[in-house]
Amino acid sequence: MEIIDKNKGKRIVIDPISRVEGHGKVTLLLDENNRLQEARLHIVEFRGFEKFIEGRPYEEVAVIVQRLCGICPVSHHLAAAKAIDQLVGVNQLSPTAEKIRRLLHYGQVLQSHALHFFYLSSPDLLFGFETDLHRRNIIEVIKDFPDIGRQGIQLRKFGQDIIQAISGKKIHGVVAVPGGINRSLDIPQRDALRAQLPDILKKSKKAVAIARDLYLSNIDIHKNFGFIESSFLSLVDSKGALELYDGNIRIKDKAGKIFKDQLDDNRYFDYIQEEVRSWSYMKFPFLSELGIEKGWYRVGPLARVNNCAFISTPLAEQARKEFIQFHHGLAQAPLAYHWARMIELLHCAEQIENLLQDEDITGNELVVKGCPQEEGIGVIEAPRGTLFHHYKINEEGLIQKANLIVSTTQNNQAMNDSVREVAREYIDGQEITEGALNQIEVAIRAYDPCLSCATHAMGKMPLKVELFDHNGELLDTKIKSSV
């Protein structure tokens, strides 16, 4: 942490932010009276995937882009694969391919949600936001709450087991190929996963109860913590049900009314734009129709559970009803993300159970052929929210243009605003306590941001370079504009 006097105002920097995926920085700008003027979440990592896949053969892309992330590589693999299916002219996969990809996706969401809730966030919720930093980690959770700690580890492991069984590796495996998959499950693998199901379903159900109870245990603080109001964007199926793999876009406004429904996700560029700001590598997406100021929105578990009319699996649907009833139709509190996240985890466990009973997952029809096209778009609900992959290729099948809008990016404005709200509440003048520092991190962490994923673009961000001498005198400034 550093505190810098800058002109008349003061700047407080929190760097780095811990227990989020990647590296970010927060700057709080105070006015002359030491009141909070502005809060900024800076993303200081730089990745550049959109640029360096240019010129590569399309068939490699689903394997390259999953390297964006070590937490949700499967989501990138599958979003890219869906786009590549379009490039090879396939609109409908074989039942085996579709179900194997879905099974993989549910395994991925389950393991990512378990990781985030139990490993990254439960220490804050169980020990309290102001508890000594050294206590707030999964090791201490295992010591003090062994059942909860073990539960998190087992749930995550089950998700990883599914990923490994299908894609060959726990991280960065390969299964999706143009128009399908390269293998289905064999019977022993399927049976080994099936055997774990009763325990996993029990633990998933309990995970919802833990998240709910922790949220309600301190409801007065939790419901107002970093509170902001926004609209929500997510995929739903044709009947409005929660859909994680393939659907159409629904947007609800901040009052909970459906603002847009069943938008074609392949036309995302008609209604979503991205703004670039000089101080962050992460862009700011917004709904074109509402403009930069009013058009920002949230994605992820809270958006999905808020947006859907129902969940197709019974246990998760029951949990959703309780969640929605408690929030009178729409939850806006950032900490409610955790509860929603565990409802989704339960849904994934139920979906995995359904798929493991389905004969198609051991089928042989793996790949479908089609008539190649020059453009492909793949949209999926990744653990952290809606993920867009868009590619254009030339006549040789080499990538000409790529556009990725990742989940964390779409929560960018919301994270900045939640940080501002928390800082207003907990930062007093230039005093910044360890507890207050973590309050800010807790607000960011609620969104489960993946800062590595969010900074994949290259060549588009404005860059400001300043040259100082040893006395701190500014010698030169160069600004590279964003256009």
Partner: protein, 240 residues
């Protein structure tokens, strides 16, 4: 009584006209190599199969086996020299195993693992090399080419086509295509050609079924190259 050579204190029979590496392969003794393949004319360019014969350094693929040769193969010094050669190959090309389709079926990668190579050690040269994706079924990614000329030999000797050649000198050496445009699409290449199957890296690939071999079923996923019966990877499955 057959004549023998001695490799690392083991007597190995050979027949007249065999090279040291051929005799070794026949006896199931692994000598690391990249530009050599059984049934192909010796090339002697990669130097990975360097052994000592009666104390003298020679390449096992070009040195004829002769009775009573005392050959040292699996020594610390030779393995360390071989590791340095493979590190140089990685440093002077652009080999990105994490997204290369050949990963797991790649002889360069497998040799690197068997030589216990953990990094490239030498600074990456990051050469600018072009990709030829003009053919619908065959991809040439020069970034991954180690200039072993196996494809050149296969195209001439097996496919009877003469599609490939090396051109240029030193760092600017590159694989060129024998066609009017210099592109694969105007050459005589076919996706089933031996020239594609023989490539020890992901430089020449059949494009028609990308990533179709699952992880776990690739040639070197389970058994390291130095413990596989044949020293010559069968890439048929990988590239068809």
């Amino acid at each position: 009584m057959p004549q023998t050579i001695n490799i690392d204190k083991q007597n190995i029979p050979f027949s007249e006209g065999q090279s040291i590496i051929e005799a070794a392969e026949q006896a199931g003794v692994y000598i690391p190599h990249l530009c050599h393949k059984a049934g192909y004319k010796a090339h002697g360019s990669c130097r990975l199969c360097t052994v000592t014969v009666n104390g003298r350094w020679v390449s096992a693929c070009t040195e004829p086996a002769e009775a009573h040769q005392q050959v040292e193969n699996n020594t610390r010094e030779l393995q360390s020299q071989r590791r340095a050669i493979v590190q140089l190959l990685f440093a002077e090309g652009n080999h990105h195993c994490p997204f290369c389709e050949k990963s797991g079926n790649c002889q360069l990668q497998a040799v690197a693992y068997s030589l216990d190579m953990h990094d490239t050690h030498f600074a990456h040269q990051l050469p600018q090399r072009s990709l030829d994706a003009s053919h619908p079924d065959v991809l040439l990614d020069r970034d991954r080419c180690i200039q072993c000329e196996l494809c050149v030999r296969a195209s001439q000797e097996y496919d009877k086509k003469n599609v490939f050649a090396l051109s240029g000198r030193g760092p600017s050496t590159q694989l060129i295509i024998n066609s009017e445009s210099g592109k694969l699409k105007d050459s005589q290449i076919n996706k089933n050609d031996e020239a594609i199957k023989v490539c020890p890296t992901g430089a020449l690939m059949n494009r028609s079924k990308p990533f179709s071999i699952p992880i776990g079923q690739r040639q070197f996923d389970k058994i390291p190259i130095d413990q596989q019966n044949t020293c010559v990877p069968d890439t048929t499955e990988a590239s068809t």
